[in-house]
């Protein structure tokens, strides 16, 4: 039983095994998390422990012996104040190589709801650091987590798992960067203050945009959004040729039933802009920008359909890369598991 005594395990509830409301009900508060981390100090059967708690999963990685599933579920139920049966029903327990493969897949974003998102890698690192500070990481967990970070680097650099944006806002950001390159000097005009406009603005800001102008029929909404994004507000009735001549990127997402910009207006604007290209992103339904504008030289127009198609095809491409990543994980976890068993 000595080998089993040191068994590496992974217990978890994730978006694969439980719906959102259940995951919400068991999401640990900071004091509850502290209690979970205290378990190795008073449970003989538990040696090492790291807790990964995100919006999509609550997972406990550790080493221990005996009836881990039963013992751990009971302890977690006490801490999380939930019933044993639903937690047991909606959780999964993996041991040894299977647990290690799972950790590698989670860290690399292969197990994420949005395949290939790398935010999870940072969350795993954070969890590992926290466990290290609390003294619940031993040699086995340390080796497992260090190897999971190395495996992630290999997967991200040798597969296309992280290539291509998978949201409308970030695809728009990619198009804009393909036109202007460094966006530090570009000025963006956002017309409309809806959710999608906000997300696109965030995507553009994360790509280096500093100059933001916001405009909306309801001035207060534009002002609130401008304050949150360090932009300036332009009154909706001031949206004239002169203003558009000054900007590089226009994002439209208003509920207007008629076009805000038609071909003749943009033609006039382009005469004044001389050589700078103009990028128009129409995120509204019905559309805010006359689609015939796309034929004008030096004007690039993208609508919701264009961006959504690319996002969808990127997502499909990412999914097809999962197999390649999992093949590597399978080989790597076997090798790492042998090393861990030797320690």
């Amino acid at each position: 039983m000595d080998n089993q005594a040191q068994a590496l395990f992974c217990w978890g509830v994730s978006h694969h095994t439980a719906p959102l409301d259940f995951r919400e009900s068991i999401a640990p508060t900071p004091p509850q998390l502290e209690q979970i981390y205290a378990l190795p100090h008073h449970c003989d059967w538990l040696h090492e422990l790291t807790v990964l708690s995100t919006c999509n999963r609550l997972e406990v990685y550790g080493t221990g012996y005996g009836e881990i599933e039963k013992s751990l579920t009971v302890e977690l139920c006490k801490i999380l104040q939930t019933d044993v049966d639903p937690l047991r029903e909606k959780s999964a327990l993996k041991f040894g190589k299977e647990a290690l493969s799972h950790l590698f897949a989670v860290t690399a974003g292969l197990d994420s709801q949005i395949v290939g998102e790398v935010e999870i890698t940072g969350q795993v690192k954070q969890a590992f650091l926290q466990a290290g500070k609390l003294g619940t990481v031993g040699r086995k967990l340390n080796q497992a987590f260090q190897r999971s970070f190395q495996t992630t680097i290999w997967i991200l650099s040798h597969t296309r798992i992280g290539i291509g944006q998978i949201s409308v806002a970030t695809v728009a950001g990619d198009f804009v960067r393909k036109i202007y390159g460094n966006l530090g000097k570009s000025t963006v005009l956002v017309i409309g203050a809806g959710d999608i406009a906000e997300k696109t603005m965030a995507a553009l800001r994360s790509r280096g945009v500093r100059n933001l102008i916001l405009s909306n029929r309801t001035f207060a909404n534009a002002r609130a959004l401008a304050e949150a994004n360090q932009g300036i507000v332009a009154p909706f009735d001031s949206l004239n040729c002169h203003l558009i001549t000054q900007v590089d990127i226009v994002v439209c997402s208003t509920s207007s039933r008629a076009f805000i910009f038609d071909q003749s207006q943009i033609q006039q604007i382009m005469k004044r802009r001389t050589i700078r290209p103009l990028c128009l992103i129409d995120l509204a339904l019905p559309r805010n920008i006359d689609p015939t504008i796309a034929i004008l030289p030096n004007v690039f127009l993208y609508n919701l359909d264009d961006l959504a198609k690319i996002a969808q095809s990127n997502l499909e491409a990412r999914k097809s890369e999962v197999v390649k990543g999992m093949d590597f994980i399978d080989k790597k976890s076997l090798q790492v598991m042998q090393n861990i068993n030797r320690t």
Partner: protein, 285 residues
């Protein structure tokens, strides 16, 4: 083609450009990115070996090695590689090194595939005057710059196509941005025109002193190419020619300029146009 130290070194240099190009293709296909410094190191290594080969050839012909088509093409490769090594790290344009290596490989294959291009000649390619040698080398150097300008124009057109057709996948993913590519193109246009202007100014001094030695066909082609690029530059600076039209013009002009090498070189090959006659015009092949 005699396989001396010069040809072997030039060939080895070209081989490194080829390796750089293949390395970049392999990594782009396999991992969708390539380590730029490896490509840069391969091109820089190739450049050093090619420079040595050109130097050896220069010692053999007792002058700047631009006496036949092989030498002219190698000098153009050498010039465009030099420009890349200087401009590459400053601009860090995606695929710029890759496309430079591609153009160098294409020209290198051509120069080695046609052995008659390296036909032997006697005497110094440009006679006794060092000024004519200087003029010709500057003129060919400007061709190297215009070659790079054509490559950046091609990248611009591909990016423009990808943005119009909404293609963000595969090869298109790695293309540099439109604005950055055009900025680089304008700078190369200025640099190319400046170098060619200086070259013609140097040549014209000799021409005024020795009008009988001028090959009028060469002069006509050279001045036409110079005027055409100058016109493009003036139109661009006046915001009359830009974006896609500028890229197409630069690409077409370079093709015309390269094609014009053929009749220019043929005129030089005529027995009556002795070495001393290769006094003016581009290129003095």
């Amino acid at each position: 083609m005699h396989l001396g130290v010069d040809v072997i070194s030039i060939g080895l240099g070209n081989l490194l450009y080829c390796l750089g190009f293949l390395f970049a293709i392999f990594y782009l296909l396999r991992t969708r990115h390539h380590p730029r410094w490896v490509l840069y190191a391969l091109i820089a290594g190739g450049y050093a070996i090619q420079t040595f080969g050109m130097y050896q050839r220069g010692l053999l012909v007792e002058g700047c090695p631009m006496g036949n088509t092989f030498e002219i093409v190698q000098f153009v490769i050498w010039s465009l590689t030099f420009c890349f090594l200087v401009l590459g790290p400053a601009f860090r344009l995606s695929l710029f090194g890759f496309s430079t290596a591609g153009l160098a490989v294409l020209l290198a294959i051509l120069s080695f595939a046609i052995p008659s291009w390296d036909s032997p000649y006697t005497g110094r390619p440009f006679g006794p005057s060092p000024w004519i040698e200087f003029h010709a080398s500057l003129a060919l150097f400007s061709y190297g710059i215009f070659g790079l300008l054509a490559m950046s124009s091609l990248l611009y057109l591909l990016q423009n196509f990808s943005l119009r057709e909404r293609r963000l996948e595969g090869f298109y993913l790695f293309l540099p941005s439109l604005v950055e590519t055009e900025t680089l193109s304008v700078r190369m246009l200025v640099a190319g025109c400046s170098v060619l202007t200086v070259s013609l100014a140097v040549g014209s001094i000799y021409w005024i002193q020795n009008p009988a030695t001028v090959d009028w066909l060469k002069l006509l082609f050279t001045v036409s190419v110079w005027l055409a690029y100058l016109l493009v530059l003036v139109l661009r600076l006046g915001n009359r020619l830009y974006s896609k039209n500028l890229a197409w013009t630069c690409l077409a002009l370079f093709l015309v300029a390269v094609i014009s090498l053929w009749p220019v070189n043929q005129s030089r090959a005529k027995p009556e146009s002795a070495l001393s006659e290769s006094s003016l015009g581009l290129p003095h092949g």
